[in-house]
Structure formats: structure tokens, C-alpha cells
């Protein structure tokens, strides 16, 4: 599983980094980040690209999610 670290990155870097990995054909991704905005944006991107989202850590200042596409 490829890990993408978007902690502390401002808009729209988290989305760009995640999308880059998706475009390279990654089916399983682990994304870690900090802000609520980046969490919402990455989840939105995952939904639009047909990935299943599993939020494994959902804190106020830290989140972690697994993205998976069949």
C-alpha cells in the first residue's frame, strides 16, 4: 500500500499529491493529513475517482484514511 503524507500542506497540494498517485494506477492508498479542509477535499476526490474510503484516524488535528479501488 502506497503511503501519501499530506500533513501541513495547504490547498490544493493534498488533492494533487493523492491524484498523482491515483493517476499512476495505485489501487490501495494510505493518506495521512492534518487539516479538516484537506480531509474533506481528499474524500471528495476519492469519491469522484471511484475509490472506497475508510477513515482509520479521525482526530481534530490529524486524520488517516485508506483508499481502495477494485
Amino acid at each position: 500500500m502506497e503511503k501519501i503524507d499530506v500533513r501541513g500542506l495547504s490547498c490544493p497540494m493534498p488533492v494533487i499529491k493523492t491524484k498523482k498517485a491515483m493517476d499512476q494506477g495505485a489501487k490501495d492508498l494510505l493518506v495521512v493529513g492534518t487539516s479538516q479542509v484537506s480531509k474533506e477535499n481528499v474524500m471528495k476526490l476519492a469519491g469522484s475517482q471511484g475509490y472506497r474510503v475508510e477513515l482509520t484516524v479521525d482526530g481534530k488535528n490529524e486524520w488517516e484514511m485508506k483508499l481502495n479501488k477494485q
Binding site: 495547504s10 490547498c11 490544493p12 488533492v15 494533487i16 479538516q36 471528495k44 481534530k60 488535528n61
Partner: protein, 356 residues
């Protein structure tokens, strides 16, 4: 359309309507809100520049920051963070203001000007789209200003909101620090700076828009950026909402006057309307948000965004002290040079901050 998209569309409609109402109550035409113009007025009120016609402590700006701060605190999102190329962001704030004052407005005022029938703003809008597109080119290429870190103390994020609260205190108290000079605080007796809705209403408008913008993450450069980058129209709906809200009330109030000539606080130099907002669009995209968004982030405790806001206030002082700022008569030569120089320097920053 899902619920969040309806919410941002309605929030946009409200913001556009509030802007038109502020004009009705005394703000300059097509300037219910203008982040760049109002920060420039604040710079003038503090005496950082001495352009007599644009000096006022705009309560809308104070309301935006405090409204965003209170909303973020209630939502548990207020958190001090910073350290992502802070000085670079400050300088970018300076150039974002130069671009805005060459055009005569931030992206928010561009929307409001279009909703008032100002065709020059459409030219500016095309420049803005081109600027955001150029920013997206750098983003795709790997542009990154680096990570911000959360601070172990929340004091840093409170400093700018406290500064604006202090400005409100001075405004209400009416302190004149140097009576011989007539200020600071300076207040315009004529020109745009003298035109203002009543203080309490301006402040309330700022607080409401601060709340709405914090919740919806409204961002004008972001709307176009996300559409180009990932075909996402969420933020764009906020943009459209503002336009429609202001357009409808402008027609109702009789403010809608279509045309190029004799538009309020605007000039007809097409190339500079285009390039001014090109510079703003490019800079805002690299910074991650338009001037409005930078204010909202400042209220959330983002000290990097606060550096952009301070940069914009300093940039406004440069604009008027060095005769860079446009007026109804057009863009002065130094302003034209500064705008082109700004595009080159921001382009260089965009090119050089490529992540390996």
C-alpha cells in the same frame, strides 16, 4: 446536487446580496466588499500611506477575521499553524495587492463589478482565469511552499484577530494620535474612503460573511482552480451565487449599468485590467487562496495566511506611496512596470519552488 453544494450556492447568494445592501447603505458602488480596497483603506487610516481619498478602518475586514475566528473556534478548527515559507508568502501578498490595485479590486470585487454591469471587470475576469491557469501549471509541475506545523501554543494565531479587535477599539474610541497631522487614525473626507455603510451594519456584514466563508471554504481562485484541475465545481458554485445575489439586488436597487465607460472606481485600460487580475490569479493559486480566503484562514489561526494579509496591507502602502495604484484615469507608468515585474517575480517563485 448534494447538500453541501446547495449550501455554498445559497451562502454565495447571501454574500452577493449583503454586498449590494452595503452599497445601498453607503459603500462605494460595486464595492459592497473588496478585500484589497478595504485593506488599502485600513493602511491609509493607519497613516502607512497618505492618499487622502482612501483612508478608513473598514469594519467589514474586522468582522470577516473575527467572524471566521469565532466560527472556527465553535467548530473546533481554530489552531495556530505556520512556518511554510512565511517570508515568501509575505512578499507574494505585496504583489497580490499590486495586481489588485492595478485592476482596482480583488477577485471578490471583480465578481461584484461584473454583477454591476462593468464590462471592464469581464476583461479582468479573463485575466484572472488565465492567471489561475498559469498557477495550475506550476502546481502540476510540483510547486510546493513546504509544510506548515501546528504550534504547541495558540497565542500566535490569536495575534492578528487581536490586532483587528484593537483597530475596532480605536475606531469606536475615535483616538487621534497626532492632532496636528489630523491622524492617525485618518479618515477620508471625500472619495471612496469617505463612502461607508453605518459602522454596526458593516461590522455585522463582515461577521456573517466571515461565518459563511469559514464554513463553506469559499475561495474565488479556488473555484476556478478546482474546475481546471479536477473538474470539481463546488467552490465555483459559491462564485456563481455571489454573482447572482449581487446582480438581482443591483437591478432592484437600480445600480446595474452595463458598459465599459464611466464605471465606478474602474478604468478602461484593457491590457492592465487583464494583467492586474492575471497577477492576482497566479499569486492566489500559488498561495492556496484568494485575498478573502487568506483573511478567513487568518481567523482560523493560520499565521502564514496572516503574513499574506500583512503583506497586502504593506503592499497597499507601497502602491500609493510609489504611485503604482490605478485610478479612474488609468494605470500610472510605475504601476504598469510593477505589475509586469510582479508577474515575472511570482513566475520565478512558481518555477523555482518545484519539489524534487
Amino acid at each position: 446536487m448534494d447538500r453541501s453544494k446547495w449550501f455554498i450556492l445559497i451562502a454565495g447568494l447571501c454574500i452577493g446580496a449583503i454586498a449590494a445592501i452595503l452599497v445601498k447603505l453607503g459603500n462605494p458602488l460595486n464595492m459592497g466588499f473588496c478585500i484589497a480596497c478595504f485593506e488599502r483603506d485600513i493602511a491609509g487610516a493607519l497613516g502607512l500611506h497618505r492618499a487622502g481619498v482612501v483612508q478608513y478602518v473598514r469594519p467589514e475586514i474586522i468582522g470577516l477575521v473575527l467572524g471566521a475566528m469565532l466560527t472556527a473556534m465553535f467548530a473546533g478548527e481554530f489552531k495556530t499553524r505556520g512556518g511554510s515559507s512565511t517570508l515568501v508568502r509575505f512578499i507574494m501578498g505585496v504583489f497580490m495587492m499590486i495586481g489588485a490595485l492595478v485592476f482596482l479590486g480583488c477577485p471578490l470585487r471583480d465578481v461584484l463589478r461584473m454583477a454591476g454591469g462593468d464590462y471592464n471587470a469581464v476583461v479582468g475576469f479573463l485575466g484572472f482565469i488565465a492567471g489561475v491557469g498559469s498557477g495550475v501549471f506550476f502546481l502540476r509541475r510540483g510547486f510546493n511552499l513546504g509544510r506548515a506545523e501546528y504550534s504547541h501554543s495558540n497565542v500566535g494565531g490569536l495575534l492578528m484577530p487581536l490586532f483587528f479587535a484593537f483597530l475596532l477599539f480605536l475606531l469606536l474610541k475615535g483616538t487621534v494620535f497626532n492632532p496636528e497631522a489630523g491622524g492617525p487614525l485618518f479618515f477620508s473626507k471625500e472619495g471612496p474612503g469617505s463612502m461607508a455603510a453605518p459602522l454596526a451594519i458593516s461590522l455585522a456584514a463582515g461577521l456573517i460573511v466571515g461565518l459563511l466563508a469559514q464554513r463553506t471554504r469559499l475561495c474565488l481562485s479556488g473555484g476556478i482552480r478546482d474546475f481546471i484541475l479536477i473538474r470539481e465545481n463546488y467552490l465555483l458554485l459559491g462564485f456563481i451565487g455571489i454573482f447572482l445575489g449581487a446582480l438581482i439586488l443591483n437591478i432592484v436597487f437600480g445600480f446595474f449599468k452595463p458598459g465599459f465607460a464611466e464605471q465606478p472606481i474602474a478604468h478602461t485600460m484593457h491590457i492592465w485590467n487583464f494583467l492586474g487580475l492575471y497577477l492576482v490569479g497566479l499569486t492566489a493559486t500559488l498561495l492556496g487562496g484568494c485575498p478573502l480566503r487568506q483573511l478567513i484562514l487568518t481567523g482560523e489561526g493560520d499565521t502564514d495566511a496572516a503574513a499574506v494579509v500583512v503583506g497586502m496591507i504593506v503592499g497597499a502602502a507601497f502602491c500609493h506611496n510609489f504611485l503604482l495604484a490605478a485610478s479612474g484615469a488609468g494605470v500610472p507608468t510605475y504601476g504598469q512596470i510593477a505589475c509586469v515585474l510582479g508577474i515575472v517575480i511570482i513566475g520565478w517563485i512558481g518555477w523555482s519552488h518545484r519539489e524534487a
